[in-house]
């Protein structure tokens, strides 16, 4: 009985097992891994990929993909940097760039939902365009030393609430909000339905175009929010920030058991996927694996995690 229930949990959350295994293994090799300090450290580190991956989960659930998230992060981060550097009050600048991120997502969404182009190619193109715009507006020069006169921006990475780092708190709050949005709203059900079969969803009188547009808006918003945290963390806005972040986010979503075909998956899985990648990055550093081997091991663990997930959900 208990065994069966146990099995049930793992069938449902195959990758939780993977995460536990990974944590145990790393802890055995170097027990310093499991200190409170380090755990908070990991959460602080994963918050950026986490936010992006949450947005990406919505997109992937509809059967789409968003390759432009890294570029949106860079562009909105740079905009934030330029605004702060130009003396715009941070209470204006921060919301502005988050809305700006939403607009960049809207642009993606319109091409996918209304013009009906393939998401992969739309966001590949906008990725290049957004990166180009970042370069143009910044002239390729990073904005530096941003947090010295911007306490709120600084709080985004350095602050803490009840002893927990603010990025971690933010990640968890966003997680809860998005989970409610996904599981308990008409919109969320629509996201799954579109991924399941768009035509069926349309004929069931769901506003499919609007929902499809919205998921890109969410993804863009999350990328911009991640951009704020990164800018805060680095105290600077880098024009080349966020390179390849899209791949880490997609990996987290897929490791978390969401199907790239859409319609099937959960946000909790993505959180686990994000943690697996975060633990892996941190753990390999803590163990002291040499840089070149880290890449190889990372790839291998991703492959194993997905195999594990597949075996358990069969």
């Amino acid at each position: 009985m208990i065994m069966a229930r146990f099995e049930g949990v793992f069938r449902k959350y195959g990758t939780v097992l993977g995460l536990i295994l990974l944590v145990v293994l790393i802890t055995i090799i170097n027990p310093r891994f499991i200190t409170l300090d380090n755990i908070l450290n990991i959460f602080r580190q994963v918050s950026i990929n986490g936010l992006i991956a949450f947005g990406m989960t919505f997109v992937i659930l509809t059967g789409g993909i968003d390759l432009s998230v890294g570029a949106i992060l860079a562009l909105s981060g740079m905009l934030l940097g330029l605004m702060i550097a130009a003396g715009v009050p941070e209470l204006i600048a921060i919301p502005t760039v988050i809305i700006f991120g939403a607009l960049l997502g809207l642009f993606n969404g319109i091409f996918v939902a209304k013009v009906k182009l393939q998401a992969f190619i739309v966001t590949l193109a906008t990725m290049t365009m957004y990166r180009g715009i970042t370069m143009i507006i910044s002239d390729g020069i990073p904005a530096m030393g941003l947090t010295s006169d911007a306490p709120i921006l600084n709080f985004f990475s350095q602050g803490s609430i009840l002893g927990l780092p603010f990025p971690m708190v933010l990640l968890l709050i966003v997680f809860v909000i998005l989970m409610i949005l996904l599981k308990y709203t008409v919109f969320g059900r629509g996201v799954y339905a579109i991924g399941g079969n768009e035509e069926v969803a349309r004929l069931a009188s769901l506003p499919t175009d609007r929902i499809k547009t919205m998921v890109y808006v969410i993804s863009g918003t999350m990328a911009a929010l991640a951009g704020v945290i990164l800018t805060s963390r680095l105290s600077s806005a880098q024009p080349t920030a966020g390179m390849m972040f899209e791949l880490d986010a997609i990996a987290a979503v897929v490791i978390g058991g969401t199907s790239l075909a859409g319609g099937k998956g959960r946000l909790f899985g993505t959180l686990i996927g994000v943690l697996i990648i975060g633990v892996l990055n941190n753990g390999l550093n803590i163990i002291g694996v040499s840089a070149f081997y880290q890449q190889f091991i990372k790839g291998l663990v991703i492959l194993l995690a997905v195999i594990l997930d597949r075996k358990s959900t069969r």
Partner: protein, 288 residues
């Protein structure tokens, strides 16, 4: 010192490299590792893979691991500032090499003067072609400090828009991303566009090698196009020896690397504080 199985909690130094994908930085890494081991340290090497956002995490991870000192080759001036501040607050000596970090309390920083290096290249070229000429500028990864500083220094001498006395003309600028294949491809395009090219400045040697190859492919190796690289990498000297490249602006990474370890060692053993700022000049060289 609580000696753990990993042994890494003894006297170890974390070396954070910005990008080991760039082979020239191996010189710096090797210098630090070699000197460190001579002095009895374990050197843990981290690779930032050319991504500024990785380094703060690596600093945090190194602190978690409990290293005694940090030598960092920062990806830029500010990204790892917050993380390094934490280290400094914990009393861990931090030495930055090749680039400064905008944070108080750094033990020392040893830096190649990239801006001056760029100017030096410009001046060297003026010396070669007193009557000016047509110049191509191959830039590194846009937005990175070496790209801005080397390019800025170079243009301040060569670009007529910035230096009214310059007799040169910049006929083409392209981005080679500090790597060979894009530099080679962009140079091929520029060769197709321009019949007359007098000199090419590549912001690092890897790109210079690609440029030399593109010139060879286009069959224009006999036009005497001057190729200038930056770094002082082995491959540059090889080409210079074969007469396919002219000169490179050398950064003395051997010196910077071993000196950084010396500073850390002195501080840990005797509490000696080194000079907090060591500026290492670039020099032009056409032989190892």
């Amino acid at each position: 010192n609580d000696d753990e199985a990993s042994g890494a909690d003894g006297d170890s130094i974390a070396l954070l490299m910005a990008d080991l994908g760039n082979p020239f930085f191996h010189v710096l890494r090797d210098a630090v590792v070699e000197r460190g081991e001579e002095l009895g340290y374990e050197v843990l090497v981290y690779d930032g893979q050319n991504d500024a956002s990785r380094q703060p995490s690596q600093v945090e991870d190194a602190l978690q691991k409990g290293v005694s000192a940090i030598i960092i080759n920062p990806a830029d001036e500010s990204s790892s500032a917050n993380a390094l501040k934490e280290a400094i607050d914990k009393g861990i000596p931090v030495v930055t090499v090749d680039r400064a970090v905008d944070v108080d309390g750094v033990l020392s920083y040893l830096v190649t003067d990239n801006l001056k290096g760029g100017e030096l290249v410009g001046k060297w070229l003026e010396g070669q072609l007193p009557d000016g000429g047509k110049v191509i500028h191959m830039e590194g990864v846009m937005g990175t400090a070496p790209q801005r500083e080397r390019g800025g220094g170079f243009l301040s001498v060569i670009d007529p828009n910035e230096n009214s006395e310059s007799k040169f003309e910049i006929i083409g600028t392209a981005v080679g991303d500090f790597s060979m294949a894009p530099a080679e491809a962009a140079m091929s395009d520029l060769l197709a566009r321009h019949d007359e090219i007098d000199a090419v400045f590549a912001q690092n040697d890897t790109m210079a090698v690609g440029i030399a190859r593109a010139i060879e492919t286009a069959g224009r190796q006999d036009e005497g196009i001057i190729i200038i690289g930056f770094d002082g990498a082995k491959e540059a000297y090889d080409l210079i020896e074969k007469g396919e490249m002219n000169v490179t602006a050398v950064q003395d990474f051997d010196f910077i690397g071993s000196e950084a370890v010396n500073f850390v060692d002195e501080y840990l053993k005797n509490g000696t504080e080194p000079e907090d700022f060591v500026l290492v000049d670039v020099y032009m060289s056409d032989s190892k």
